[in-house]
């Protein structure tokens, strides 16, 4: 007689890896073979998780079609089953899986679209946090300003892609074939800022320097560092715009005053 822990691991192995040998031994047949009974559960597990992925990746789903999406999702689920009932981090792993998925290589922009789908979905469901009140920054001494570090809103994500995935994303979701046909796939990389607004996820295209500046700040680097990373760009105006848009929720003055993130100083 298996312990509960053994039985649950055997059933999990059956449902995820399709190997019923151990689990079937513990199941009563009673008019229907154990593998058929386990298959009922396997179908539900795969359908539930595939539906969760489809809701997180609506653009990918439309681009590749239901059959391709379902087979990719099943391979992904078998290779990397989720760890808990909260699927947010799990969803990100699917974008990584698609990037290395050989059958998807015919669509070179698919991985970028997947990344954007994930970022938009994350923006939709990220925790609620108040934006940073710009008045608080007014109290910071001028000498401390270079040493400011900002905390990004949980909905904020910086995405860089080799193709115009923002235009593809919009055209596909709007089912706008004319817009899709007008997209120049080789126009070069795009630099995107994704965040939640009251109207839902918003995707903004930034200039490369502005994106580097924003990405540096969101990664927790000091303002001084971020300015140095950005190069020729009006960082003061950019920062003011981000503050108005609620891109940041908090800040701290880096008392070490160093150029490295604080954890690197210890």
């Amino acid at each position: 007689m298996p312990t509960l822990r053994e039985l649950q691991r055997n059933v999990a192995h059956s449902l995820i890896a399709g190997d019923d040998a151990a689990a079937a031994m513990d199941v009563v047949a009673d008019g229907l073979v154990p593998v058929a009974r386990l298959a009922v559960y396997r179908n539900t597990v795969i359908a539930s998780l595939t539906t969760a992925l489809r809701l997180s990746y609506p653009t990918v789903h439309r681009l590749v079609g239901a059959a391709f999406f379902e087979s990719a999702a099943q391979l992904f689920l078998a290779a990397q089953p989720p760890h808990g009932a909260c699927l947010d981090d799990y969803d990100l792993a699917f974008a990584g899986f698609l990037a290395d998925f050989a059958p998807a290589a015919a669509i070179p922009y698919l991985a970028g679209v997947a990344r954007l789908d994930w970022a938009a979905n994350r923006a939709l469901h990220a925790p609620d946090t108040e934006g940073l009140d710009p008045a608080r920054l007014a109290a910071v001494a001028a000498a401390d300003e270079p040493h400011l570090r900002f905390v990004p809103h949980p909905s904020v994500e910086l995405v860089r892609a080799d193709h115009p995935v923002d235009a593809i994303w919009r055209a596909v979701l709007a089912q706008d074939d004319a817009a899709m046909a007008a997209i120049e796939l080789d126009e070069g990389p795009v630099f995107l800022l994704v965040r939640r607004t009251t109207d839902g996820p918003m995707i903004a295209r930034l200039a490369p320097a502005a994106w580097r500046f924003t990405a540096s700040l969101c990664a927790g680097r000091t303002l001084e560092d971020a300015i140095a990373t950005a190069g020729q760009v009006d960082t003061a105006t950019l920062l003011a715009g981000h503050l108005i848009d609620g891109v940041f929720t908090d800040f701290a003055v880096d008392e070490g005053g160093g150029r490295q993130p604080r954890e690197d100083l210890s």
Binding site: M1, P2, T3, L4, R5, L7, Q8, R9, V11, A12, L15, I16, M25, D26, V27, V28, D30, G31, L32, V33, P34, A36, R37, L38, V40, Y41, T44, V45, S48, L49, A52, P81, P82, H83, G84, A85, C86, D88, A123, L124, H125, A126, P127, D128, T129, P154, S155, R196, G200
Partner: protein, 295 residues
């Protein structure tokens, strides 16, 4: 965690009347048209994040008593509860101050892998101890009583020794939790395993019944000719389940009753119509009780 700041339930306890499961497609219609329905239940896991989805519930809970029904806690997991997930449930309970909190007599996590389904437990003393430990931990963390729902199932294990109804009654007795009696699940499991549904109802502790669930199920004919009933929540409540529900009311008295529908979700009006049928049976039960009192 302190619960002193918990928002007060806006609309009091769940009444012993018919309610419906609130799903995404009906957020706007419910918030804007405020249909005549006594209460609403949500799947807790759908409201753990931020943004527009939980904001709908913030609005709707001002007008309706709310029940939070969990599907991801895995009360039957041998390796113990996912404390991060329990903490997320705790924050949702704090935010929405539901009148009822419930989960399932099932498991979905093993070896650090989450299987997105409500899987059946072996009915053993070991599993009973595991479930009681996890229910106790949940109730202590949330600082409130929860209801635990009987599952629908498509398999049984060879080494089970306790009938499911006795197992559920023992969980309630040992932990003080209530029972969420899913009448459709009893019917589905009884049909699939050759149990006596009426005897199942009769074995449940009447005083612990805090809620009843009703839903539609599918009848699937398998390749070998065997018939399996599948609890897919994708249709109206079956006539045989309505009959069993009337029997449950006769036994348990007036209990808050929920219409669930999760697959091919119909217009709100269809759900309200199903709730109307449940309410008619509740009303009939109330009249019968009244006559009995008068006699």
């Amino acid at each position: 965690m302190s619960f002193s700041t918990t928002a007060a339930p806006a609309c009091g306890p769940i009444p012993a009347r018919a309610g419906i499961g609130l799903r995404f497609p009906h957020h706007r219609a419910v918030a804007e048209t405020r249909p005549a329905i006594a209460w609403l239940e949500v799947h807790t896991e759908n409201y753990l994040g931020g943004g527009a989805t939980p904001a709908w519930l913030d609005t709707i809970r001002r007008d309706y008593p709310i029940s939070c029904h969990g599907v991801g806690l895995s009360l039957g997991t041998a390796e113990g509860l996912d404390r991060d997930h329990l903490a997320r449930i705790g924050r949702a309970v704090e935010r929405f101050a539901p009148a009822l909190v419930s989960e399932h007599l099932s498991w979905s996590i093993a070896g650090g892998r989450y299987l997105a389904d409500l899987l059946p437990l072996p009915m053993t003393e070991e599993a009973l101890a595991v479930v009681c430990r996890n229910v106790n931990e949940t109730q202590e963390f949330l600082r409130r009583r929860i209801l635990v729902e009987n599952p629908s199932s498509y398999l049984r294990y060879r080494h089970s020794t306790i009938p499911e109804w006795e197992f559920l009654a023992a969980v309630a007795a040992r932990t003080g939790c209530g029972v969420l009696c899913d009448v459709n699940n009893i019917y589905v499991s009884a049909q699939n395993h050759g149990w006596d549904a009426s005897a199942y109802l009769a074995a449940l502790p009447s005083a612990a019944i805090g809620e009843i669930h009703l839903a539609g199920h599918a009848v699937r004919r398998l390749d070998n000719g065997a018939v399996l009933r599948i609890d897919d929540h994708g249709s109206r409540v079956a006539p045989t389940v309505w009959t069993l529900y009337a029997e449950a009311l006769d036994r348990f008295g007036l209990v808050p009753t929920l219409i669930e529908w999760d697959t091919d979700i119909p217009p709100l009006a269809t759900l309200l119509d199903e709730a109307h049928t449940a309410q008619a049976l509740l009303d009939r039960c109330g009249r019968k009780a009244g006559h009995a009192d008068a006699a």
